[in-house]
């Protein structure tokens, strides 16, 4: 099982949670599967969804050892008031956090569907857009190819450093079903997607949440996911380094 490792950098980025009370949007401090995979699908995908979409699987994390320090140095806030042109007035202002000058790593599962990405990456940095408020200039990211990793070689127990879905809609074998999810919740046995795509061997403490998965051009569903902080037995690149 091989992954391609990319250096990641962005000047201004909004990887947010949902708006709170329609006003406040906090940012998260990792690069979830849904965001980076969606950004890569937008450029290298085939425009299809569910089982027909290209099998691009990626995730990532930012580089930091102390989250409080990282928040202090790399998270700022922006107050923004979208304008209603029909009423010629500004609607309720929103307060959004954003990440600036951030660096990290992105890991892409190597398979036939990512050949085009590999080809482009060999020519130079890849540019892509990710996250919120792209129309206001946020979200430009760069990926710089670093090399390949054999995920089976370095397995360890530790704290998950990213967000990964436990199932993939419409992909035979990866849609888990009630039984697979029950086994994960009750016994810590990873679903097929977690095992076969990310090489996760065991989930000792699960922090669950939901990630968005598009099912059409205009819609999608939220799927059960493992969030950062879960204790897992997995390839080392998915884990927080000691002291982080």
């Amino acid at each position: 099982m091989r992954f391609l490792k990319f250096g990641f950098s962005s000047d201004m980025l909004i990887l947010g949670e949902r708006f709170k009370k329609g006003q406040y949007r906090p940012v998260i401090t990792t690069i979830p599967y849904s965001q980076i995979t969606g950004a890569l699908q937008a450029i290298y995908g085939n425009g299809r969804y569910n089982g027909d979409a290209k099998q691009i699987h990626a995730c990532g994390h930012f580089l930091f050892t102390n989250e409080t320090e990282f928040r202090e140095k790399h998270i700022k806030a922006l107050t923004y008031s979208p304008r209603n042109r029909h009423l010629n007035s500004s609607i309720l202002p929103i307060y959004t956090e954003f990440l600036y000058n951030v660096e990290g790593f992105v890991y892409l599962k190597e398979n036939d569907d990512v050949k085009e990405i590999v080809q482009d990456a060999s020519k130079g940095d890849l540019s892509l857009w990710m996250g919120g408020l792209k129309s206001k200039g946020f979200g430009k990211c760069k990926l710089n190819f670093k090399g390949a990793i054999d995920a089976n070689r370095d397995i360890a127990e530790g704290c998950l450093n990213t967000r990964l879905p436990v199932l993939k809609l419409g992909v035979p074998g990866f849609d888990a079903g009630e039984e697979g999810v029950k086994k994960l919740i009750e016994e810590g046995i990873p679903t097929k997607l977690l095992q076969e795509v990310f090489g996760i061997k065991r989930v000792k403490t699960a922090n669950f949440g939901y990630l968005f998965e598009p099912t059409s051009k205009t819609g999608g569903k939220y799927v059960l996911s493992l969030f950062e902080g879960s204790t897992v037995e997995a390839p080392k690149f998915l884990l927080k380094e000691e002291g982080e």
């Binding site: 949670e17 949902r18 708006f19 709170k20 009370k21 329609g22 006003q23 406040y24 906090p26 409080t68 202090e72 806030a77 309720l92 307060y95 199932l167 809609l169 888990a176 079903g177 009630e178 999810v181 919740i185 000792k204 403490t205 699960a206 922090n207 669950f208 949440g209 939901y210 569903k221 939220y222 799927v223 059960l224 204790t231």
Partner: protein, 414 residues
């Protein structure tokens, strides 16, 4: 939580944590159902042990039992290594594997896991508050003033509807009458795991220093100590609330929980009074905890009354040090209790100078440092003498600047 704390097997509880003993046949999932069925998720640290070893908190029990286990397994491992040449290799491997199995068995007795009410595989519309359940249109919540509609799940909707009157009516009033007023969210936290360690450390020290000749074996703390601590902690919180009311007057105080209060700050430098009250009461109730990392911490987050509560909560739920003050968007300070005492006693320059320092630091911390340390401005240099002294004694410069921002309106107090 108040109802929950009445259960016989709940030994210690705060508004967000509890410590309980269950019999082996009881289910933890059932025990916390009261919370999980309302949509909360519960982080559980378990210790499965015999009553004789039931010692203060789960991780402390684990630590203690691990020491014994490691000692025993090390002796066995040495025995196996000595016999290595005399026994067949498969027997040697089998015996080593027995040791590993025993370690796994030991770890399995101390699981750390989360309990969730329900976890659907997929959700069409996610609840905007908990982000863990499906939002239904019948539970849409419309804010009358702003017109903002929040799409909620049943649990979050029921929690909103729980009280007919708003849970913080004064906050509503401040928001409507003085939308530019500043408020502070104050949260006192108690870390149960750290409390167990601290109390045992204090007892060990006491035995070592005072009665070492009279007793030969290690004395271990039992649950009655926690019950006593709970009593003191509750009294401490009660007094803290009362003192705040005296200092700030009732109309500027919005109690929410015993350890969670919102106050209207007029002016911001009132934070110093809050810190003084906390420091005095802490010295009165827990004098021994002042000399080390305290399991009881204070977090204060200050902003305009309109500012989103969720941001405050992120600050309040993760205390970095014993005392933490955040001025949203302007700076943070994290201090231990000794540093707090020192900071409170610093003779500050005039409000005008503090204001100047605060304004400069908003542009550049380095520039502010020049102002404090530059001997060129003799008048300013000497009046900032004590501030410079505090930096030498371990308080960082950022804390000084945040404190300057807190105190810049001090003249309005007098």
């Amino acid at each position: 939580m108040r109802k929950f704390s009445q259960f016989d097997n709940v030994i210690l509880n705060t508004t967000t944590q509890f410590l309980a003993i269950l019999t082996p046949d009881a289910s933890v999932t059932e025990f916390v159902k009261l919370f999980s069925e309302k949509g909360f998720f519960i982080e559980v640290e378990e210790a499965n042990t015999v009553l004789d070893n039931a010692y203060l908190a789960p991780q402390s029990i684990k630590q203690k039992e691990r020491e014994k286990l490691e000692e025993r397994l090390e002796r066995r491992r040495e025995g196996i290594e000595k016999q290595k040449q005399k026994i067949p290799e498969n027997v040697y491997k089998e015996r080593l594997e027995q040791i590993y199995a025993e370690i796994d068995e030991f770890e399995a007795r101390f699981p750390i896991h989360n309990i969730y009410g329900s976890l659907p595989c997929t959700i069409n519309d996610l609840c905007e508050v908990c982000q863990m359940q499906s939002a239904e249109s019948e539970y849409d919540w419309v804010d009358e003033e702003s017109g903002v509609t929040e799409h909620l799940c049943n649990n979050c909707y029921q929690i909103r509807k729980f009280r007919e009157e708003p849970p913080a009516p004064k906050l509503d009033l401040w928001y409507k009458e003085e939308p530019r007023s500043r408020i502070a969210w104050i949260k006192v936290n108690l870390d149960i795991e750290s409390l167990a360690e601290t109390l045992q450390g204090l007892l060990d020290k006491y035995v070592q220093d005072i009665i070492k000749d009279e007793i030969s074996e290690k004395i271990e703390l039992r649950f009655s100590v926690l019950a006593e601590f709970q009593h003191d902690y509750e009294m401490f919180l009660k007094d803290f609330n009362e003192e705040l009311e005296k200092e700030l007057s009732e109309e500027k105080l919005q109690p929410i929980l015993d350890d969670f209060i919102c106050v209207k700050l007029d002016p911001t430098s009132k934070i110093k009074d809050i810190l003084e009250i906390y420091n005095n009461l802490f010295t009165e109730y827990f004098p021994e905890l002042k000399n080390q990392k305290s399991p009881v911490t204070l977090s204060i987050s200050v902003s305009n009354v309109k500012f989103a509560f969720f941001r405050h909560w992120k600050i309040l739920e993760n205390p970095v040090d014993d005392v933490n003050v955040a001025l949203v968007g302007r700076g943070e300070m994290h201090l231990n209790l000794k540093q707090l005492e020192e900071l409170i006693e610093i003779r500050l320059p005039s409000a005008k100078q503090l204001h100047k320092l605060a304004k400069i630091s908003e542009t550049s911390d380095r520039l502010a440092k020049v102002l404090v340390y530059d001997r060129g401005d003799y008048r300013l240099y000497s009046s900032m003498d004590e501030m410079r002294g505090a930096v030498k004694n371990g308080i960082n410069f950022k804390t000084i600047l945040t404190y300057a921002k807190i105190m810049e309106d001090v003249d309005e107090v007098s």
